[in-house]
Amino acid sequence: MVSQATTESQTPQEYAAPSTIEEALRSIADGDATILAGGTDLMLQTKPGGRLPYRRKLVNIRRIAGLRGVGEKDGRISIGALVTITDIANNELLKTAAPVLPQTADCFASGQIRNMGTVGGNICNASPAGDMIVPLLVLDAEVELSAWAKGAVATRLVPLSKFFTGPGRTVKQPNELLTRIVFARPDKKYSVGYIKSGPRPALEISTVSAALSAIRDNDKLSSVRIALGAVGPTVLRAVKAEAYLEGKTVNAQVVAETARLAAEDASPIDDVRATAWYRRHLIQVYVKRLLENDSQG
């Protein structure tokens, strides 16, 4: 076998299956590791001819109990990176506190993939169409990144809105592991909705997905967040539309203008699933529906 100048190759040269976060962080400390969680994206992307080469070491984090579980402490909800999409769909705390997440999980891929795929993996894969990212963005979620530094575990929190830098690219360093997702438990007056496009619920890669959250007080909206999937290089926040809608009372004219601005905030492309024109049209339809509180996508 011809040796390569870099350690990127078609197959992993080493394998590790740590059982604790600390062990995993030490294992990836040199930054030359590919992380395996659910594997549903990784297996396909690393196939011969795929877009992702393996780094030297394949580190399987599935055995780390400390990365599982959903909990709440001091009004903050925490979801472990290894929590599966099925776990999210069935979780009682999330059904009560943030029902938009179970609702989104329910239209994610298929039963088999929901059983394997993890929320941390869906985020780190950084697909512009990543399903779980859209509702997490309107919940103002942050991701905890952990690394092994100076003989100890060091963590930093990054707002999800600052996490993505492009398709498949994030601010996570090669020696860092996404360990959990945290967000404040939404206020009771908070209303959140999510719509995903597609001719069928199963195994659909979104053509457009959209989520909107706001505090609704007699139809007057504040703390508005609008997130859009599959209409730009990353899942994105429609910042112009958010700024316009803040403090407004919902009426037909406000709805129309918000929808128009949201379409301007996006930068969709033509691809096999839809044209950019159709995506801009769908954004407007979905933003209108979300504002009219009809999330039956």
Binding site: Q13, Y15, A17, G39, A109, S110, Q112, M116, L203
Partner: protein, 157 residues
Amino acid sequence: MTAKVDISFTLNGHLKKVSVPADMSALTMLRDMLGMTGTKLACGEGECGACTIMVDGVSLNSCLMYAAECDGRTVLTIEGLRTAAGLDPMQKAFVEKGAIQCGYCMPGMIMQAKYLADTKGKMTHEELQRGLEGNVCRCTGYKKVFDAVAAVVGVTE
């Protein structure tokens, strides 16, 4: 050199010890290393469900699972459903309802149906349809498949 991983796991009630390449799928291990060809390769990308197996009682696409991840776990394939008493009730129902045409998708269909029966039990017709959304049949429709599963789990409208 591709890293090799020594694993041991329970396959259909029997302990297996194998050394697998770190990047091999569970499906390739089952079919090409262990000769368990009941589990089928069709799309190879998690879209069709023909490769569905159960691991620790949970259904998944074995084409997307790393073989190394089977270490220490309990794996059930279509070959493991049959017992000394004969076919599993789900297998019998598929035969009796004529749910099988070419048969290629059947091992995956039956494993997913078994998972639904084990975890959900009685369900609505819509839940049944959603439960099998990850399994594709290219021969025919799904009505007889739904009839077969309904005969086992019971369906409420």
